[in-house]
Every structure is written in C-alpha cells, then in structure tokens.
C-alpha cells in the first residue's frame, strides 16, 4: 500500500491546508462583496461538453474515462467551460449580466512544471453578458482586490489586449505558413526563432518591428502613445483606444498604481478576444492570477454572450504566503480544557461551549488527568490557555507566562472572551 499517495497528488497538512483554505475564503468573500454569486460545478463533466470549450492541448491533459453507461466523461481541468455550460443551460432564463464565482480543485494528467502537481486549486470569477471597458475594468479591479484580500503585500497587474496582436498579424505581410510559424514562436516565447523568421522576409513594416519588440512593449500610458504611432491597422488601433479607457477606469477604481500596460502579453490568442490580464506577486516566477475577455465561448453552447473573467491559482497564493517574510498569522487553539473525574467533566464541557459561543477555539480533553499531566497535554495541544476543572465550582486557569489562578468558570470565560489574558 502506498501511504504517500499517487504522484502529483498530495496531502496538505494542517499549516498548509489552513493557509490555503483561509486564502480561498478571503478570495470568495471579496468576490461576494462585488456581488458575485457562488456556484459549485461538478468534478466530472461529459466529454462532449468539454470538447466544445477546450483547445486540443487542454483536452489532451484531461483524465478521461467512461461511466457505467458508456459515455466518455472527464475530470475538470478548469472551470470556466463548466460555468459557460451552466449559464447556457440551467441558468438560460437568468437575466444577463450574471456575476458568478467558484472554487475547487482541478486535475491534469500532466504534472505542472512548477510544484509538480496534477491536482491544483483554483478560485475564479466570471462576468457574463457584459461587454465594454466598464466590465473589463470591473473584473481587473476585482482581481487586484482579490490579491490584496489574500494578504499578498506587493503585487502588480499586467493588462494587454488580444486584438492588438490579431491586428498586427493581419497587417504584417507574410505568407500564411510563415505566419503560423510566427505564432508558434511567439507562443513558445522564442524571440530568437521569431527574429530568424522575420529576417528572411523582404517586406518590413512597422508591425514587423513591433513583433520583434514584443517583450519590451510595457509601461504606463506612454506605451500606448508609442504604439499608436507605429500601428497602421484598425484592429490594433481600436485595442489601444480601449486599453486607454480601461486604464482610466482602473485609476478611478483606485488601483492605477499597480497596473502596467503590457502590449506584448502572450496568451492563448485563440481563446481570448479582448482585454487580457495577469497578476504577479513578489518573488514567484509565474503569474498567480490570469484572465481576460472571451466573447466566443458562450455561443458554442448556444447562448451567445460577451464574457470576461479570471482565475486565481490558489496553490501559488498559498506558496507565496507560506514563504513570505512574515507568514500570515493563523489562529491557534485558544484554550485547552482538561478535567479530573466525574466531578470535573461537566464543568469542562460547559466552559468549552461558552468559549466557542464567543468564537474562540477550545479543545476539551478526552480523558481524566492529574493537574501535572494536564500541563503536558496543554503543551502538546499548543493552546494559549489551560483551564483545569477538578470540581464543579472553581477552575484553575493558566495562561502562558503567567501564574495559575483559581476562578469561577464564568469569570474565566468572560476574561478570555474579553481578550484579557
């Protein structure tokens, strides 16, 4: 028997699990504050549904199997497609726009290059049925506030536009096979290969130069002016105008200082149709949040609607918080309640329920102990306080670094709840 589990799937022990769960709660709470309603979609989806929404590579990485009726089903590898299915199906009579959020594990047959996991946790939000810059800016601002809500102290959001790239590819005069190779090189972030491809072509245009400078097309509003002076096609120009609008709106949202415009953002351009963005935290070699506009997806399920949204990689948030100089303070157990004999137990149980009523974490011992043994047990529990109940009327209360005191149980509860240690 493998007590270590299946490779790529791992246990999260209390500290890690609590950090991850806290981060998930903070993210969902922030999404709820913006009016996003929580949905839970199943872990298993029909393959024909996923076929409609996913690209070839994503489909290849799905855990697929047949259920008892012979239908091919798969474990979900992301949850935007299930949400789209939901909006076009059970929610088809719900008025748009719809604001939805979700959280849950997703699985892949391939281990991620980072952390070597096949099961990861994602929290996402989708705004479906709203087009335009106001909706784009809302989702980006929400993503920023979500990163803040988890306790990440320094972060930045890179904002780009898929249409800027599409416009360039339309305008750049290259044979179709070279264009395909250009897309492949860009997708692989291979700028040496890209340069070689573009060098061999005689027709050089401004768009040509832009492609070569892709990784450096970043900055504030000035980058939009610089790019506007270079592109000569309507699609890219429109994208630049829209980015300017979104940037202004993000300033009004109060997050202008964390936004960087990134015209060279490289993403899945077959999927995204408009404004795209990525969130970066400090000292982690990859983005923790990714999203953008995908106006084409819903139509594939028979309910054409514009949509934008994002996903936060919870494992990365949790790794960042765990490794931060000051890891987040997690609540430990407030009180360990020990007791002796039948005379002590009822009082111990009552103190426990009273403390929990006040929202404190209280553990009541499972066996009778001497006062000496109770102190050892207190150490093992790692609680802030020890309450020892030997009879019905008074208890012995010890706090760390302080002398033990004998008090009536109600007084101990009142003092602990009042924060007087």
């Amino acid at each position: 028997m493998q007590l270590g589990g299946v490779p790529g799937f791992r246990d999260l022990l209390p500290l890690e699990a609590e950090i991850l769960r806290e981060a998930q709660e903070s993210l969902l709470a922030e999404m709820r504050r913006w009016g996003y309603r929580h949905v839970i979609t199943p872990l298993v989806e029909a393959m024909d549904v996923l076929d409609l929404g996913l690209g070839v590579e994503q489909r290849r990485r799905l855990f697929k199997f047949t259920d008892g009726r012979g239908d091919v089903v798969a474990l979900v590898g992301e949850r935007t497609v299930p949400v789209a299915r939901l909006v076009a199906g059970k929610l088809r009579t719900a008025a748009l726009p719809l604001r939805l959020c979700y959280a849950g594990p997703v699985v892949s047959t391939e281990e991620s290059r980072f952390q070597h996991r096949r099961e990861t946790y994602q929290v996402g939000a989708e705004l479906i049925g709203a087009s335009g810059s106001v909706a784009d800016a809302e989702v980006i601002a929400l993503a920023a506030k979500c990163m803040e809500a988890t306790g990440i102290r320094r972060y930045q959001i890179d904002v780009g536009h898929a249409e800027f790239f599409h416009g360039i590819m339309d305008a750049v005069r290259l044979p179709e096979d070279v264009k395909a190779a250009v897309r492949t090189a860009l997708g692989a972030r291979d700028f040496v290969g890209l340069e070689a491809l573009l060098e061999d072509t005689p027709l050089r245009s401004a768009e040509h130069e832009l492609l070569l400078r892709f990784p450096a097309l970043r900055g504030g509003l000035e980058i939009l002016d610089a790019a506007a002076g270079l592109v000569r096609n309507e699609r890219s120009e429109k994208a630049l105008a829209q980015l300017r609008e979104v940037y202004d709106l993000l300033t009004d949202h109060g997050i202008g200082d964390v936004v960087i415009l990134d015209l060279g953002a490289i993403r899945d351009f077959d999927y995204y149709t408009g404004v795209i963005f990525e969130g970066y935290g400090p000292d982690l070699g990859r983005p923790v949040a990714q999203g953008g506009r995908y106006d084409g997806l819903l139509a594939r399920f028979g309910r054409a609607a514009p949509a934008t949204g994002f996903v936060v990689q919870l494992d990365l948030v949790s790794e960042m918080l765990t490794r931060a100089a000051r890891p987040p303070e997690l609540p430990r157990v407030d009180a360990a309640i020990a007791w002796r004999g039948a005379a002590g137990l009822p009082g111990a149980l009552r103190v426990g329920s009273t403390l929990r009523l006040f929202g404190m974490r209280a553990v009541v011992d499972t066996e009778s102990r001497s006062q000496e043994a109770a102190r050892n047990w207190w150490e093992a529990v790692g609680a802030a306080n020890l309450i020892y109940c030997a009879d019905g009327s008074t208890v012995t209360w010890s706090a760390r670094g302080q002398r033990a005191r004998r008090l009536p149980p109600e007084q101990v509860a009142a003092r602990l709840a009042g924060g007087i240690a």
């Binding site: 290059r113 980072f114 320094r154 930045q156 890179d158 692989a188 972030r189 291979d190 700028f191 040496v192 290969g193 340069e195 990784p215 450096a216 970043r218 900055g219 960087i260 990134d262 990525e278 970066y280 400090p282 000292d283 982690l284 070699g285 990859r286 983005p287």
Partner: protein
C-alpha cells in the same frame, strides 16, 4: 518594481563557461576570473549575481525564478521547453546535433533506414520528434555518457549527439549522416522577472545583446 535591483544570471559549467565569462566581462557587468569560478558557485557583483550551475539545470533555475536570466545552449532548450523567454542568440558555443553511424554501416539517407531504427542519445525528446516528423519508427536508448561507444558494440544502429568539430565522432569511427539542428548559446529570461523588474532586467539584457553583437 523599483529600478536598479540586483539581477541574477545563471551560467553553465562546461563548454559554454568561458564564452559566458567573456560575455559578462565585455558587457562590463562582471569580470570573473577562472579561479574565482573554480572556488565558488555564487558570485556577487554590484549589479549582478552570477550563479554557476550544470548546463541542464539552467532552465530550472530560470523557470522557477531563482535566476532572472540564464545563459544556456539551444540544445538544452530543445530537451527542456519551459515558460521562459528566449531573448537573444549569443552567437558562441556553436555546435550541431547530428545523426552518426559507424563508418562501416550501410545506413545513410532515410531510404536506407531499417523499419525500426534504434538510436542512442542524451537528447531523447529532440531525436524522437525529428524521426517522427520523417515518419520513421525509432527506439530511443537513453544514455548518460559515452554515447559514441554504443553503435560500435552493436547496442544501436546510430547515435544522435552534439558535435562541434566532429573529432570525437571520427576518433570513434563514426560518420555524420544527417544534421538535426544547429545550436548556439542563448539568453533566456524568467517570465515574471521581465514583467515585475522590467527596467533592471532589460538593461542587463541589452548590455549582453550588445556585447554578443560585438563578439559575433
């Protein structure tokens, strides 16, 4: 997110080390003596931190963000594609990945290949993709050292290996029948470093680019 932070660069031990050292010196980023690099694997300078690692480990250091930049042979990138940006061809450390067979072998062009070709290599991924693109069934024997020996003792039909001058192949009675690709040293960058520490990383990139143009 501020400017002028220290930028870390992973450089490989082995054949590319001298070229990398020369480039860092020409660019004025760091003059490192061979003795210094022999003594320590981490060298700090005013603007850069140089990390010396095994060639195959460079992509890992960069992809995880332990190094902002890396100098690495294209041959290694073929085998370990990752999420990094490949930014500059540094024009040194040129070599070719070739298919070589024993001098006495009847194998030559694709028309002479057996239905199932058996090949020894340290580059299984690249070799597999190359044969697959040519519709050739291939059995890859992954070896870690002295690949040249394998065809001489009948383990395989041929080898796919890197060669700069061809001398090692000749000494082992092997001849080149096909070139799978040409490799030079490349400058790669971590995706997040380029985005969150743009100014300092880009400034180091352009100095290395310029130095490599002068050298090459």
């Amino acid at each position: 997110m501020t400017t002028q932070e220290t930028v870390s660069i992973a450089i490989p031990t082995g054949v590319l080390l001298d070229g990398a050292r020369g480039l860092l010196a020409t660019s004025g980023l760091a003059a490192l003596s061979a003795e210094e690099l022999g003594r320590q694997l981490l060298v700090e300078r005013e603007r850069v931190r140089v990390i010396i690692v095994r060639p195959t480990d460079v992509p890992a250091y960069v992809d995880y963000g332990a190094a902002d930049l890396g100098i690495v042979g294209k041959d290694i990138l073929w085998e370990t594609p990752g999420s990094h940006y490949e930014l500059v061809d540094l024009h040194f450390g040129g070599c070719r990945l070739v298919l070589a067979v024993p001098n006495a072998s009847a194998l030559d062009g694709p028309q002479t290949w057996p239905p199932l070709m058996r090949v020894a290599t340290k580059y299984p991924r690249t070799a597999n993709a190359w044969f697959e693109a040519r519709g050739q069934a291939v059995e890859i024997v992954r070896l870690h050292g002295s690949v040249e020996l394998a065809p001489q003792v009948g383990l395989v039909d041929g080898i796919v290996d890197l060669t700069a001058s061809g001398r090692t192949l000749r000494e082992n009675g092997l001849r080149v029948t096909a070139v799978l690709g040409s490799s030079t040293a490349r400058l790669i960058a971590n995706q997040a470093s380029l985005k969150t520490r743009t100014a300092s990383v880009q400034s180091v990139v352009s100095r290395l680019r310029e130095a490599s143009n002068h050298a090459g």
